[in-house]
């Protein structure tokens, strides 16, 4: 599996570099096959007009058989978007990053899904129980067992 992981990530990286990534996405960092960072913004009319976020992917050698760990970067410069499925520590509650992951998805398709998740947001609000979750959350969002209850956003 390890061989598949390197070959597949290499191929995805080549594709991103040769073909321009979709609008609103920019690769900020992909020095290795451990961590990639994308800049993401929602184009067009949305609640997040003019805001820029950084999306971090962490891979291990089970990729693509299991999902990468994906979260928004939260540091001195970057903030996570205020969204009912995004916790203030950057963790994202999205089923494609958990039980609905499949190898048909890719790094770019995850970016696009998250972009559209932000674009379709109707009200900027924090998830329920944000404070509790942020206090107790593990570093790696994949270790959190999310309950996906809302398919509309």
């Amino acid at each position: 599996m390890a061989a598949v992981y390197m070959r597949r990530l290499g191929k995805e990286l080549r594709e991103i570099e040769t073909e321009a990534p979709p609008a609103g996405l920019r690769l900020l960092k992909a020095d290795d096959f451990d961590t990639w960072i994308f800049q993401i913004e929602v184009l067009g009319d949305s609640l997040y007009r003019g805001e820029r976020f950084a999306l971090k992917f962490r891979f291990d050698n089970t990729y693509p058989f299991s999902a990468p760990a994906v979260q928004f970067v939260v540091d001195s410069q970057m903030r996570a978007p205020v969204h009912p499925h995004v916790y203030t520590n950057g963790h994202i509650c999205a089923s494609i990053l958990g039980e609905d992951w499949s190898p048909t998805l890719s790094v770019i398709s995850v970016c696009i899904t998250i972009q559209s998740m932000l674009a379709s947001c109707k009200k900027k609000e924090l998830p329920e129980g944000n404070d509790t979750y942020v206090r107790t959350a593990p570093d790696n969002p994949k270790k959190t067992h999310f309950v996906y209850d809302d398919d509309t956003v």
Binding site: R7, K11, F65
Partner: protein, 528 residues
């Protein structure tokens, strides 16, 4: 190319694996070749090894396992062809079965532990209940009504006996303090029918016509009163006694009835000492008595000695109860009335009461600080709980000992003998005849007759109670005397303590040994 020709994965010009994203052109086959597969209904194709890895990975993740064999795009179900011999299938099934058995074992183990624990508690409570009942009723009635053989017990023995220790203990807490501790011992037994011991059962078999009705139909002696009557009469009697005692206390100690103080909270200090170990508690007692008589605070040491003496006299009465100021005593009156040791719950927090020393006689000293008094808490320590429980559980034995003493004393006192109304032991062999009524009687009873039956049952109890030696009666009287005696001792102690404080004065001495030149004295001439 015939029309029926349907292409397969090997006919693709370019094959792109949807898992590892690698391509293979048909004119540039990989070396070594890898098998390709098209397992579903859509256009996705994959290396067979990649797909099998994916399926394995998905099956190992619990939340994805259900969809592991489905194409993520068209949801078609993959068909796995494998070498799955009967042995493997059997082993798989066996493994699943074992997991299920494991669950059952876990659940039943927990259940067993809980059940064993509860059964142990039940066993202990029931054993104690039987012991207490035997102490209270005397062995003769106990053997008739209950006996040591549980297979002969009626259904309520199984519920009533284990409840006896529980109600005994509860009767000493504020929860049930208006009830006699003896109620659980009396309750349900008055109407009890004798259990069928082996010899009785044998007779019953031969005398099949003798119905098992033990309801009294004939005139019964009205003395001693029936247990049912006693149960009903007890609360008013006790209320009278409490009120009388309260008045006597206030009269003796010259205190006023304080405003009722609500206990605000219970403080748990299981590791803590008992109330009278707290040096502040006896001091508080003295201070409060002192406040009433307008004298200064007490000398602690002397009073502690006094306490030990009193504690030794009233054996089960904890010394702590004398630490109760009359004020608080009135507040916990019902408890104290039923059973003085209940003062184990004595608010040690009394210490918090203001040391209102040197106040005028009529000052409402204990309530000088109403806020402080209102906030008193009951301190529950390990020792106080132990004393509460121990004191409650020893009651039946105390009652038996007192009953025995009374019986002993009655030998020389005809009047007491009349009061106790002891009866000679029953002849067990004859017992069924004594208790049975012929069935024919039971047939033709009018409602009025039934009412009569109920009234008699209430007034004199069932035949067992009428005809057995009323050990329970003298035990009840004995316990009553014991409780009253204890109250008297406690009151006497309070009164003596009060007198000691009232009689205090400071001894006057002459100026012997003092340099008289330092004193500005009146000259003898002036006096003259």
């Amino acid at each position: 190319m015939p029309d029926s020709w349907v292409p397969s994965v090997d006919d693709l010009r370019v094959k792109l694996c949807w898992i590892c994203r690698e391509e293979e052109r048909h004119d540039k086959p990989e070396q070594p070749p890898r098998r390709w597969t098209h397992p579903c209904n859509c256009t996705l194709v994959a290396h067979e090894s990649c797909l099998l890895d994916w399926i394995t990975a998905a099956q190992q993740t619990p939340e994805r396992a259900a969809n592991a064999l489905k194409c993520p795009q068209c949801s078609a179900v993959y068909e796995i062809i494998s070498d799955n011999p009967l042995a493997l299938r059997l082993l798989d099934r066996w493994n699943r079965l074992l997991s299920r058995v494991g669950k059952v074992v876990t659940v039943s183990t927990i259940g067993l532990v809980v059940t064993t624990f509860s059964a142990g508690i039940y066993l202990i409570c029931t054993s104690y209940g039987a012991f207490a009942l035997r102490e209270y009723l005397g062995s003769e009635m106990y053997d008739i009504l209950v006996s040591d053989d549980p297979s002969q017990w009626s259904w309520f023995a199984f519920t009533n006996l284990p409840l006896i220790p529980v109600t005994l203990i509860l009767s000493r807490t504020p929860l049930l303090n208006n009830y006699s501790p003896l109620l659980p011992l009396l309750f349900a037994w008055p109407t009890a029918t004798p259990i069928a011991t082996s010899d009785v059962a044998m007779r019953a078999h031969w005398e099949a016509s003798a119905a098992t009705s033990y309801i009294p139909m004939k005139a019964a002696p009205l003395w001693p009163p029936s247990p049912a009557l006693l149960c009903v009469l007890f609360p008013p009697l006790q209320a009278l006694y409490s009120a009388g005692k309260k008045r006597l206390t206030h009269w003796l100690l010259d205190t006023r009835e304080p405003a009722p103080v609500r206990i605000r909270g219970y403080e748990w200090a299981i590791g803590g000492g008992e109330a009278n170990m707290d040096p502040a508690a006896p001091a508080a007692f003295r201070l409060q008595v002192g406040a009433q008589v307008g004298r200064a605070a007490a000398r602690r040491q002397q009073q502690q000695q006094q306490q030990q003496q009193v504690g030794a006299v009233a054996a089960p009465a904890p010394a702590a109860e004398v630490a109760l100021a009359p004020v608080v005593q009135a507040q916990v009156e019902p408890v104290v009335a039923v059973d003085p040791p209940a003062a184990a719950l004595a608010p040690a927090a009394l210490a918090a009461a203001p040391p209102a020393a040197g106040q005028p006689v009529d000052a409402p000293a204990p309530n000088a600080d109403p806020a402080g008094a209102a906030e008193r808490t009951i301190r529950i320590t390990g020792a106080s709980i132990g004393r509460l429980i121990g004191g409650a559980l020893v009651l039946p034995t105390v009652s038996r000992i007192m009953g025995d003493l009374l019986l002993h004393a009655s030998h020389g006192l005809p009047l007491l003998r009349l009061l106790l109304a002891p009866r000679p032991p029953l002849l067990r062999v004859n017992s069924p005849r004594i208790w049975s009524l012929s069935a024919s009687h039971a047939e033709s009873r009018t409602p009025l007759q039934w009412l009569n039956v109920g009234l008699r049952l209430f007034l004199s109890g069932s035949n067992v109670w009428q005809e057995s030696d009323p050990v329970w009666w003298r035990n009840t009287l004995g316990l009553g005397i014991f409780l009253v005696a204890k109250d008297v001792v406690k009151l006497a102690h309070l009164w003596l303590a009060k007198r000691e404080l009232e009689s205090r004065s400071v001894k006057n001495r002459s100026f012997e040994g003092v340099d008289l030149r330092e004193l500005d004295l009146i000259t003898r001439a002036e006096i003259a």
